[in-house]
C-alpha cells in the first residue's frame, strides 16, 4: 500500500467513524439500534479496555485489536479510529481551506504532561471516580460533545419539522444547559486546539495517545526519513500536525506520530517511508539542542489535576432519612452499585441516546460531583421500561453490565415511597390509581379506603424502582409516590405467574 492509498483509506474510515459515532450519540430516532451502536464503538480504546477489565464480552476485544495494530504500524487508531482525532483533522483541514495555512514547527514534546494525564486518570480510577478519564478520553469527550450539542439540535429540528407533519416526531429527553455548555466548551477547545496547534490534545492530555505512544515507539513498522534523500526542505515538519518531525536531524518522534502520513505525501523526493525496524543512522537523543521542558509548569498541572480529586469526596454518604429533598438518584439497571458505576462510567452518553423511553439523562449533581454527567433516571420525564435492557446492552465500558430483559425485571434499582397525606384519594376523596396502573409488578396495588375508594399500598419486595408510579402521579409540586435510588442494587422477589388464560364457564344467557 502506498501512502496515497493509505491516506484514502484514512479519509474513508475516518469519515465513517466520525459519521457513525456522531449518529450513535445523536440517534434520536433509534435508527441504528443497540447492535449497530455497539459495533460502531467496538474499536474505541478506553471503553474497550474498561470492558476487558470488567469482563465485557466481545466489546473488550476492540482494545486488543488496537494494541496489535499499534504494535505493528503505530498510532493508526489516532489517525482514523478515534472520532475526536478525526474531528480535529477535519477542523484543521477546514480551517486550512478557508484561512491561511498554519505552519507548526517541531516541538520537543511534553512528556511530563502526558504522564500526568495518565496518572490523573489512574489516580481517579483508583480513588473510585472515572471523572478525570471522562474528560480526557477522546471517545468519551466526543460522546459528550455530540450528545450535548448535536442531539438536542436534532431534537429541536425534529420538533420543528414534525409540526409540518412531514416527519414523525420523536421523544428526546431534555438536555440541561450545563450539559450543553460543557459540550460546547469541550467542542470549542478541541476545534481551536486543532486549528492552531494540530494534534496538541493527542500528545499532551490524551491518556489513550500517551499509552498508544508508548507502544508505537516500539512498533514493528515506523516512519523513517532517508538521510540520502533528504535535502532539508522542511516540508515534512511543516505539515506534521503532531509537531513530531525534526527535519534538521532527520528524526521522527514515533510516540507522538499519529500516522496521518501527511509528511510522506509532502516529501517531493519520496524520502519518508514506513519501514520495519530502527534506522541505524541519525543523531542520538539530546544532541538536537532542544531545551528541556520546564518541570515547574508540568508539576503545577499535575497538582491542579490532583486537586480535583478531593472534590470527588463530595459524592460521599448522605443523610439516612430519605425525603424529596435528599433523594438518591436512580442508576440504570445493570449498574450494580453507585461506587462501581462511578468508578467505570466515563459519561460517554451512549446509553442516554439509546434509551427508547428517554428516561436517562446526564446528571449534574444528582450522583454527586464524582458522577458528573453520568446518567441517572429522571422520572419527571419518563420511566424505565419493564421490557427493555438497552442501556446495559449498549454500554461500552461495562459500567452498566449487560443484562437480559428477564434479568432486568428482577433488578431493584430503587424503592417506591408512598406519602398518603399527599395522595388525591386522601386529600380530595376521589379515585385515582394512576401509580398502580403504571406498576409492572403490582408492587403498588390498591387496597380498600373510605367511601368505596381504593388507595395505593406498596409491597417493597416486588418493587424494582422503575419509576412508573412517580412519573404518572398527578400530585404537584411534590408527588405522593416517588422512587428513592438504591446505592447498591438488589434482587426483587420473583413471583411465579400462570402462563394460561382462564376460560369462562359457558353461560346459558347474557348476564344483562
Amino acid at each position: 500500500m502506498n501512502a496515497r492509498t493509505y491516506r484514502l483509506v484514512r479519509f474513508v474510515v475516518g469519515g465513517l467513524v466520525l459519521a457513525g459515532c456522531a449518529l450513535a450519540f445523536a440517534d434520536i430516532g433509534n435508527w441504528l439500534g443497540v447492535g449497530m451502536a455497539r459495533t460502531i464503538v467496538w474499536p474505541q480504546f478506553a471503553p474497550s479496555l474498561s470492558a476487558l477489565l470488567t469482563g465485557g464480552g466481545w466489546l473488550a476485544a476492540g482494545c486488543i485489536a488496537v494494541i496489535v495494530l499499534t504494535l505493528c504500524f503505530g498510532r493508526v487508531y489516532c489517525a482514523m479510529l478515534c472520532p475526536l482525532g478525526v474531528l480535529m483533522d477535519f477542523s484543521a483541514w477546514l480551517a486550512g481551506r478557508t484561512g491561511k495555512k498554519r505552519r507548526l514547527p517541531h516541538h520537543p514534546g511534553r512528556p511530563w504532561l502526558r504522564g500526568a494525564a495518565v496518572a490523573i486518570c489512574a489516580v481517579g480510577l483508583i480513588a473510585g471516580t472515572a471523572v478525570p478519564l471522562a474528560f480526557l478520553d477522546p471517545y468519551s469527550v466526543f460522546g459528550k460533545i455530540a450528545g450535548g450539542t448535536l442531539r438536542p439540535l436534532l431534537g429541536t429540528a425534529n420538533q420543528i419539522l414534525a409540526s409540518t407533519s412531514w416527519i414523525n416526531p420523536v421523544k428526546v429527553s431534555p438536555v440541561a444547559w450545563t450539559t450543553a455548555g460543557v459540550a460546547l466548551g469541550l467542542l470549542s477547545m478541541v476545534v481551536l486546539a486543532a486549528v492552531f496547534r494540530g494534534r496538541l490534545w493527542c500528545n499532551t492530555v490524551c491518556p489513550v495517545g500517551a499509552v498508544l505512544g508508548l507502544l508505537s515507539k516500539h512498533a514493528w513498522f515506523r516512519l523513517q526519513i532517508a538521510d540520502s534523500a533528504c535535502v532539508g526542505c522542511s516540508m515534512c515538519e511543516r505539515v506534521c500536525p503532531a509537531q513530531c518531525i525534526d527535519f534538521r536531524n532527520h528524526r521522527i518522534d514515533h510516540s507522538r506520530c499519529v500516522m496521518c502520513l501527511d509528511c510522506v505525501t509532502s516529501c517531493k523526493r519520496s524520502g519518508i517511508h514506513l519501514m520495519a525496524g530502527r534506522k541505524s543512522q541519525g543523531h542520538p537523543a539530546g544532541t538536537s539542542g532542544e531545551n528541556p521542558p520546564l518541570p515547574s509548569l508540568k508539576r503545577r498541572d499535575v497538582l491542579t489535576g490532583l486537586a480535583v480529586l478531593p472534590a470527588a469526596a463530595l459524592g460521599g454518604p448522605r443523610p439516612q432519612r430519605a425525603t424529596h429533598r435528599n433523594r438518591r438518584a436512580v442508576l440504570p439497571p445493570g449498574a450494580g452499585s453507585l461506587a462501581r458505576f462511578q468508578n467505570l462510567c466515563t459519561a460517554c452518553q451512549l446509553c442516554v441516546a439509546n434509551c427508547p423511553d428517554q428516561v436517562l439523562r446526564p446528571s449534574i449533581t444528582q450522583h454527586g460531583l464524582a458522577g458528573f454527567l453520568q446518567p441517572y433516571q429522571d422520572f419527571d420525564v419518563s420511566f424505565c421500561s419493564y421490557n427493555c435492557s438497552n442501556c446495559s446492552q449498549v454500554c461500552p465500558t461495562g459500567a452498566i453490565l449487560p443484562i437480559t430483559v428477564e434479568q432486568r425485571r428482577l433488578v431493584r434499582s430503587g424503592t417506591a415511597e408512598f406519602i398518603p397525606d399527599l395522595c388525591v384519594v386522601k386529600t380530595k376523596g376521589t379515585s385515582c390509581g394512576a401509580c398502580n396502573e403504571h406498576c409492572p409488578t403490582q408492587a403498588v396495588h390498591m387496597v380498600p379506603w373510605e367511601k368505596g375508594l381504593t388507595i395505593p399500598e406498596i409491597d417493597p419486595d416486588l418493587c424494582i424502582g422503575c419509576g412508573g408510579c412517580e412519573f404518572i402521579c398527578p400530585v404537584r409540586p411534590h408527588k405522593a409516590i416517588w422512587v428513592n435510588g438504591l446505592e447498591v442494587h438488589e434482587r426483587a422477589k420473583r413471583v411465579v405467574l400462570g402462563e394460561q388464560n382462564t376460560v369462562r364457564e359457558a353461560e346459558e344467557e347474557f348476564p344483562f
Binding site: 420538533q159 414534525a162 409540526s163 414523525n168 416526531p169 421523544k171 427508547p356 423511553d357 421500561s385 419493564y386 421490557n387 427493555c388 388525591v424 380530595k428 376521589t430 379515585s431 385515582c432 390509581g433 394512576a434 398502580n436 396502573e437 403504571h438 406498576c439 409492572p440 409488578t441 403490582q442 396495588h445 390498591m446 368505596g452 381504593t454 404518572i472 402521579c473 398527578p474 400530585v475 405467574l497 400462570g498 402462563e499 394460561q500 388464560n501 382462564t502 376460560v503 369462562r504 359457558a506 353461560e507 346459558e508 344467557e509 347474557f510 348476564p511 344483562f512
Partner: protein, 307 residues
C-alpha cells in the same frame, strides 16, 4: 382466524335467532322480539371477528355508519406494551376486522391511534395492532406528541371544562371507539368512556381532579363516538389496566356494540360481575344524562353464536 362466508354467517345468525326465540323464554321479552332499531347488540360465544361480523350485521352493517368517501378513525386501547394474551389492549384481530369493514364500506382512509402509557412504538408492536391494522389497509398514527392535540371546550361538562384532544378524533368523519373490558385499579373498570382518555393529552388532570367525574365528562366532548364496540372476547380480570401475566386474562367470548356509551359500559360491568351503580363514572354519566345507565330501559339485541 378464517373469515366466515356470508352464507355461513346468515345460516348461523338465523339458527342462533331461532334458538334464542324458541328455546329461551327470557329472551322472548318485548324488547328483544322486535326488529329494532337496537340501542345495543350483544353477541356471545364466538371469536372476536365472528362476533363483530354478527353484531355489525344486526346494526345494519358498517354501511350504516360509514358512508362512501368518509374518513374513519378507530380508537382501540393500545396503552400498554403487552401481548394479546395479556388483554391490556384491544384484540388485534377485532381491530383489523373493523378496519376491513370500514374500507369495504367505502371509507377513504382508516386511521388508528392511541395515546399510550408505555412507549408507543413498543405498545403498537407488542399488542399486534400495528401489524394487523397495516395488513388490513389502515394507517397507524402516534398519539404521544402534544403537537397532534387541539384544545376544545366541553361546556356541558362539570370538571373537565377544557381539554387538549387529538386532532385525528376531532377531524374524523366517523369515529369508532373500541375498548377492551378490563379491571382497573383506580376506576374499577375501563370501558367506552374510559377509553376516550386515550384521546386526551393531559391525563394527570383526570387523576388529580376526580377521575370518575372527568371520565363521565368525556361524554360531553364535541366529538362523540359514532359507534362503540366493547371487546370482551378476552377480558382482564385482575391487575388491570396493565396486567401482569396471562393468568390475569380470561377468555369470556362476549362483544357489545352500540352508540350509547353509558348503556354499553353498564352492560359490560354486569358481565364483569359488578353493578353499574358501583362504578363511579357510569353512575355519574347516567345522572348527568349522558346515556342510559338503567339496562331495563335499553333495547338490546342478544345474539348467541355457535349454539
Amino acid at each position: 382466524m378464517k373469515p366466515i362466508s356470508r352464507r355461513h354467517f346468515i345460516e348461523g345468525t338465523a339458527a342462533a335467532a331461532a334458538v334464542i326465540s324458541w328455546q329461551n323464554p327470557l329472551f322472548a321479552a318485548p324488547e328483544s322480539g322486535g326488529d329494532g332499531p337496537w340501542d345495543m347488540v350483544a353477541v356471545r360465544n364466538g371469536g372476536p371477528v365472528e362476533m363483530f361480523e354478527a353484531g355489525i350485521a344486526a346494526l345494519g352493517g358498517m354501511k350504516a355508519f360509514v358512508k362512501k368517501g368518509r374518513s374513519v378513525v378507530v380508537k382501540p386501547n393500545i396503552a400498554w406494551d403487552q401481548p394479546p394474551e395479556i388483554p391490556a389492549n384491544t384484540n388485534p384481530e377485532l381491530v383489523a376486522a373493523i378496519v376491513r369493514h370500514c374500507l369495504q364500506a367505502g371509507a377513504s382512509k382508516v386511521t388508528v391511534f392511541d395515546h399510550t402509557c408505555h412507549n408507543w412504538e413498543r405498545s403498537y408492536k407488542t399488542s399486534g395492532i400495528a401489524k394487523a391494522v397495516e395488513d388490513a389497509g389502515g394507517v397507524m398514527v402516534s398519539g404521544n406528541f402534544e403537537n397532534a392535540y387541539r384544545e376544545v371546550e366541553l361546556p356541558k361538562a362539570k370538571t373537565l371544562k377544557k381539554a387538549l384532544v387529538h386532532k385525528e378524533m376531532l377531524d374524523s368523519d366517523v369515529f369508532i371507539n373500541v375498548p377492551v373490558l378490563k379491571h382497573h385499579g383506580g376506576a374499577k373498570l375501563t370501558l367506552c368512556m374510559k377509553n376516550l382518555m386515550g384521546c386526551v393529552w393531559d391525563r394527570r388532570f383526570f387523576h388529580k381532579n376526580g377521575l370518575d367525574q372527568c371520565i363521565a365528562d368525556l361524554c360531553f366532548a364535541p366529538r362523540k363516538p359514532d359507534l362503540n364496540i366493547i371487546d370482551a372476547y378476552r377480558i382482564l380480570r385482575k391487575n388491570g389496566p396493565q396486567g401482569r401475566a396471562k393468568e390475569d386474562g380470561e377468555i369470556a367470548r362476549y362483544q357489545m356494540l352500540g352508540t350509547d356509551m353509558v348503556a354499553l359500559d353498564a352492560a359490560a360491568a354486569k358481565l364483569f360481575g359488578k353493578e353499574p351503580s358501583d362504578i363511579g363514572f357510569i353512575k355519574i354519566a347516567g345522572e348527568m344524562g349522558a346515556g342510559e345507565a338503567d339496562l331495563a330501559k335499553v333495547r338490546i339485541r342478544r345474539i348467541t353464536l355457535g349454539a
